[in-house]
Every structure is written in structure tokens, then in C-alpha cells.
């Protein structure tokens, strides 16, 4: 009776017996099986532990890049500035004295990708924001050797002529949201307007920028030519925000090593 009942499963048993026998015979396969089983089980256990992140400090005043700053960052990326400028002040005394408080992990937590760099042909830029005036930055970008005769930096005069594309900004912000930057629907929908508004302090779009990104956001004509939104506007806006997304580093005044 039982036999007939189990008959349909005979094949399953047979298969089980066969594979089990084989597994036992090749004890390596057995070990691999153990590793696999343990690995899957273990990983389910491990994964939640990682959600408690002990690396990146939690800071309340850390804000995201505005669309204009993000556009400037994209230009910084496009021009390969990271090849000569780092954005990571190390915990060494001379660096802290030269560039400012050393960089904290939180400060680059919205940087996709990070631009820490690996070579300083030019100085570190992690805290270059507000160190120089907009005018200095623009003139320096047009021809670095006008301001620093010994500089070997290339000229970026063409940025002043290139109008900034704003139509793709919502898409970019949306993509950034997908990888974890907390842009709101509102920010994404108004991305193009906000980019224009941040460089036009007298325009009606400016207030939106302050609403969405905070009162401290710099709203001004970055490139010195009002009425036109250029790539120079974006890049300078980005340079001026470097190190200014949060005050945590300045406030805590971390002590340097050595």
C-alpha cells in the first residue's frame, strides 16, 4: 500500500540517493555545499548588521548640491580636474594648516563619484569654497597666468561662452536620487528653473532655490554676466560650495595627526 503510494516519488528518492552518494564520495563537493549553504544563510544574517554604519557621521546640516552646483560638478568631472586637484585634506598637520580642517567622510556622502583625487599638481580644493571671490575664480579660469604667473593650469575661457544646458538637469537629479541622494520630487521637477534662478538673484526663480536648498544657498551672478547662464556660472557655483555643504568640520575642529 505504502509502496504504491510512494511509487511516483521513487525517482525523486533515487535521485536524492544518487546525488547524496556522489556528494559523500566527493567530500570536496560536500564541503562546497556546506560553504554555499552557510554562505547564503550567513549572508542573510550579516546584511542587517551593515545597515548600522559606523563610517559616515550623521550630520543634520548637510545639504545636497543645487542643480547649478551639480551641473558645475559635472563640468568639473568632464574637464578631468581631478587629475590635478584633490578634494581630500588628509589628517596631517601641514595639510590642515594649508587647506583647513581635514575632510570628513560625511562631506562627500552625496558625491557620485567621489573626487578625492590622487595627485596635486594644483592645490587641494576640498575647502576652496568662498576662499576666493567669484571674480577671482572667473578670471583665474579664463587665464590662470593672469593671476598666478607661475601656474601651469590650462585656460578655460571657453566656459564663459558656453551656455549651460538645463533641460537634462531633472534627469540627472533623478538618477542621483536613484543612487541615494535625497532629492525631492519638488527639487527634480524644478531643477532647470532652480539652475537658472541661482544665477539670477533678481529673477523670480531665485526664491525657489532658497526654499528648496536652504537660506544659506548662494544665489548670485557667478560669472559676472547677468542674463546668460553659462558653464562658467555652474563651475564657479560648484567651486564656491566646496567645503561649505556642512559646517561640521569647522565646528568640530578635528585635531590633526603628528
Amino acid at each position: 500500500m505504502l509502496k504504491t503510494l510512494l511509487k511516483p516519488f521513487a525517482r525523486v528518492f533515487e535521485f536524492q540517493a544518487k546525488t547524496h552518494y556522489k556528494m559523500e564520495r566527493h567530500s570536496m563537493a560536500l564541503t562546497a555545499g556546506i560553504i554555499l549553504a552557510a554562505g547564503v544563510g550567513g549572508f542573510v544574517e550579516i546584511a542587517p548588521l551593515f545597515t548600522i554604519d559606523d563610517t559616515v557621521e550623521d550630520v543634520a546640516d548637510m545639504r545636497v548640491y543645487t542643480p547649478l552646483e551639480q551641473a558645475g560638478r559635472d563640468i568639473y568631472i568632464r574637464e578631468g580636474c581631478y587629475a590635478c586637484h584633490s578634494q581630500m585634506i588628509r589628517t596631517l598637520r601641514d595639510e590642515v594648516e594649508r587647506y583647513g580642517p581635514y575632510s570628513l567622510a560625511v562631506e562627500s556622502k552625496y558625491d557620485h563619484p567621489m573626487l578625492w583625487g590622487s595627485k596635486r599638481t594644483g592645490p587641494d580644493l576640498a575647502r576652496v569654497g568662498d576662499k576666493y571671490s567669484d571674480d577671482w575664480q572667473v578670471r583665474h579660469l579664463i587665464n590662470p597666468r593672469d593671476l598666478v604667473p607661475q601656474s601651469v593650469m590650462p585656460q578655460y575661457a571657453f566656459l564663459l561662452e558656453a551656455p549651460l544646458r538645463t533641460d537634462d538637469l531633472p534627469g540627472r537629479l533623478d538618477a542621483l536620487r536613484m543612487v541615494g541622494v535625497p532629492y525631492t520630487d519638488d527639487m527634480i521637477a524644478n531643477a532647470a528653473n532652480d539652475a537658472l534662478g541661482q544665477a539670477q538673484p533678481d529673477g523670480d526663480r531665485a526664491s525657489g532655490v532658497l526654499d528648496r536648498y536652504g537660506e544659506a544657498t548662494a544665489v548670485r551672478v557667478f560669472d559676472g554676466q547677468s542674463g546668460r547662464l553659462t558653464e562658467m556660472d555652474a563651475l564657479v557655483a560648484y567651486l564656491q560650495i566646496l567645503g561649505n555643504l556642512t559646517d561640521v568640520a569647522q565646528n568640530t575642529q578635528p585635531m590633526a595627526e603628528e
Binding site: M28, A32, I35, G39, F43, I46, A47, F50, T51, D53, D54, T55
Partner: protein, 65 residues
């Protein structure tokens, strides 16, 4: 370091693949004659092997007429 949740399994996986490959190589007698295997690549392949040349002469014979 959330990122280690990716990197460690990936590394372990690569290590495990390496281990499996090592076992395979052990089973397929890859380490039986290391001194001979080191020498074998030096055989000058420009000189046709007898068997190959026999086959070659056959084919030329076949194609010639």
C-alpha cells in the same frame, strides 16, 4: 563600511572559484610533472611534428592532383 558587504562576498567568491579551479587542476593531473611541463614550451613548434607532417604530406598529396 557598507561597501564591504559587497566587496567581501565578491572576494570570497573569487577565492572560492580559485579554489575550485585548483581542485580541478589537481584532479586533472596538472601538477604531475612540473619539470617536464616547464621544458615542453621550449619545443620548437616551427619544426613540424612527425605525425602532423605525415598528415600534411597526405593532404598535399590529396590536393595536388
Amino acid at each position: 563600511m557598507t561597501i564591504l558587504a559587497f566587496l567581501i562576498p565578491i572576494t570570497l567568491g573569487m577565492g572560492a572559484v580559485g579554489l575550485c579551479v585548483f581542485f580541478w587542476s589537481l584532479r586533472s593531473n596538472q601538477y604531475d610533472d612540473l619539470s617536464g611541463d616547464a621544458e615542453r614550451i621550449l619545443f620548437d613548434e616551427d619544426r613540424p611534428l612527425p605525425a602532423a607532417s605525415a598528415r600534411l604530406s597526405n593532404t598535399t598529396k590529396e590536393t595536388a592532383p
